[in-house]
Amino acid sequence: MSAVKKISDALVARIGDILIGKDQEIRLALACLFARGHLLIEDLPGMGKTTLAQALAGALGLSYTRIQFTSDLLPADIVGVSVYDRDNGSFEFHPGPIFSQLVLADEINRTTPKTQSALLESMSEGQVSVEGETRQLPQPFFVIATQNPVTQAGTFPLPESQLDRFLMRIKLGYPDPAAERKLLAGDDPRTRLKKLKACINEKTLQQIQQQITRVKASDSLIDYLQRLLQQTRSIAELNDGVSPRGGMALLQCARAWALMDGRQYVIPEDIQACLIPVCGHRLTGAGSDQEIISLMQQVLNTVDII
């Protein structure tokens, strides 16, 4: 199964050429897509969120559209509208940008809840209903949404139930000094993006997605995972712990992570790598986001694997 490892290493290398110094985040994003999940990237403007999304689309060879969310965007702008065709004398459906394999929903928290829910519905169902007619979305279908931290002015924060639709949330953060120097010295990432060639095709992607379900999670590992979940529920500082759905999502991601590492079985390190990206946005508490992340880190340090 090192085939998957080879493919994912190649993908990471290729995307890493464009988004320099962020291999771990690229890996997580890939794991999320392999696990058939949608990805939320949260960070300040200019940290490379859009670049990552574009590079992913390019390297995976998927059809790609980008929707820039604004406060006046309407649901019809996403799913499409029927327009009267005078030649045929009938209404003809003009599909919106959502009909694409990889949709980049840029700054999703800038638009109104109504438009947000139109996108999120299509994410969970894999289909859209327009004027009474249900239309299938292409397969595979990924949404990569980006958002600015909620503290910024003029945003509509996503409610918890909708955050739950995203399998993973990652933050990019500032590059380290070496990576930043390399970034500043090199070409404009946009020109490099144009040169990016796909290194897998749709079929391989689907194969990988199927293989993930066969990755083994042993009893000891399930036990460890359960203890982790239990621990998140006993923290007084959190409103609630991780839900069972969150737990399943975590295991799914850990499987993808293990497979990308060339293993057919999950080890605790896989869970540890995925815990914060998968569960961080599903938890709410009195503290800031940063405090919740440090609480999760505490959980990892408290629950021993043995």
């Binding site: 083994k216 080890i267 540890q272 629950v303």
Partner: protein, 681 residues
Amino acid sequence: MQADWQIPRISLLWLLVSMVVVIGLHVEHLPIWLLSAALLAVVWQIQNYRGAWGQPGKHLKVLLTGLCFGGVLSSYSTMLGLDPMVALLVSGFVLKLLEINHRRDALVIVYLAYFVAIVQCLFEQTMMTALPVFIAIMIVTAALVGLHQSNQDRRAGNRKYWFRPLQTSVVLVIQALPLMLVLFIVMPRIGALWSVPRHQDSGITGVSDSMSPGDFSNLSASREVAFRVEFEGDIPPQPSLYWRGLVFSEFDGRRWTQSGPWGYRDKNLLQWHGDQPAEWDSQVSRHGQPLAYTVMLEPTNSPWLFALPTARPDSSGVALTRDFRLYNKLPVNSEKQYRVRSWLDYDLESAGLTPLRRRLELALPDGFNPETRRVAKRWRAENPDPVALINRLLKQYNSEFIYTLKPPLLGKHTVDEFLWGTKRGFCEFFASSFVFFMRAAGIPARVVVGYQGGERHPNGDYLLVHQYDAHAWAEVWLKGRGWLRVDPTAAVAPERVEMSFTDLFGKNKDFLSDSLLSLERYQHISWLNKLRLNLDALDYAWTKWVLGYDHVQTDLLMRLLGRIDPMRIGMLLVIAGAIALAPMAIMLFRAREKHYRDELDQQYVRFCLRMERAGLARLSGEGPRDYAKRIVSMRPELQGDVTAITDLYEAQRYKNEQFNAGLLRQKMRRFYPGLRRKVRL
């Protein structure tokens, strides 16, 4: 000055609670103004925390300090003594609350709170006071725990959060209990380096060092326990239980007091336990078998002790006085336990009195009770035999007098008015008039006060003597027979002596006038009486085993160690401490052991422990693969083995359906000898 450090909310709460509790312990002996000041300080601190009020300025603080000092001085009019010192300590404690600027200040408050709580034991050491002190210590510890709770994981509104410090503190204190027991048993008691003076009028009831009409009616109304006695044999019958306390030989017309040491020509007036018998010890001849018993005396703040005649002390620090009473080295400020041997059959100073002594025992103040003096002289002339005279007077009492706890008030000539007028009174009236009469008739006589009788505890096998058993009687000196006890009260109300006091007056609900809450008030309700007696048995056990342990300790340590020296005591402390803490260690170890699921994990943990000894401990929550990576990065030479072991463990744990721990064991067995060399264990 602005606070540069915010107390965690939770810690402030517990600080305030502990302050209230600790000061609450002292409520009884603090002036009202200090309690209000404490309340004000609490309110101020809360308001300050909420930002409503500022911190008090420097000048205000100086002013408050001065006010408190002045307040203490004016409340007690002295700075010496326990009560004013405690008031001063508490006022300092209260003022400190107003200036919590640093973490250090909060810690000072916590430590002060411990101290203030413990100071309560200087006042009283009964079980009923020890329990609140114990609880207060737990609460103060909770404040200390709260102070160390991180500010970050704060979450108001969650009730669990607020009680967490208390939970931790209760667990801590309970864990400390075994060690506390060891220290209690082994730690040598250091004798009092100084004695803390207490005010005489601090409200302790008991026999005082003088007697004037009406004194005993207060005592008779008190149901407090005076002392408890445990006999080594049977308890003697009620009528012989005369607990001698003080001997009064001087009378000023109204008040009986002790006479000074005048009249005795002896060098030492005190004969300590363990001393050679003094010369005057031969003045008493003791017949028959002695009665051995131990007295557990409640604090009296006086040095005199109570015993049956004629006594010989059997405990160190207790002396026999020249007038054959027992005397303690220091005033009895806390429960005192002493062993005594008494000979109920005795002759006291039958050889004769020194002339000066005789004069003292016959002295009467001029200008008082002319009628009695006249009658006494006449009677003496009619009855040359003193015994006949005594019997005649007792008969007079018996026929005409009434024993009552509510006698009419007496004027200047107390004895005259009582003997020839009111004829109503209780023990001290009888004793006082009897002695006066005898002296007037030329027979040496003196008043003895103490207690008479006692309540036999139904299951405790000990005797309970209450304050209402306080009694006064007389002793007359007859030529050739020495001092003889005469109880004129017995002549008028023999039941008073033959029955216990409550048996006699129990039906009359008014005779004791104390609180409605007192259990003793409800002796006629049988289950309440049972409860009272059971509580007393508990208190008795506490007094005997906890407070009285000091007396047993030396013997116990002697028997245990053979010889008492610091080295042996230190060893005993260490060993006993280790034994006390061992169960906890085993419990912790068990908890860790139980955590291992199976042999595979055990083997892996063994590997981790080996690495830990090499200085490469696995962190909590660290996965095997991360751990191996870390080891290799620090000790590249171990790479081969560590990776092999980790891979084997990982594969068996997470990859295969079945595992074979033996494989891992084999691999490790090969690895360890090399490891020892490589990491230079």
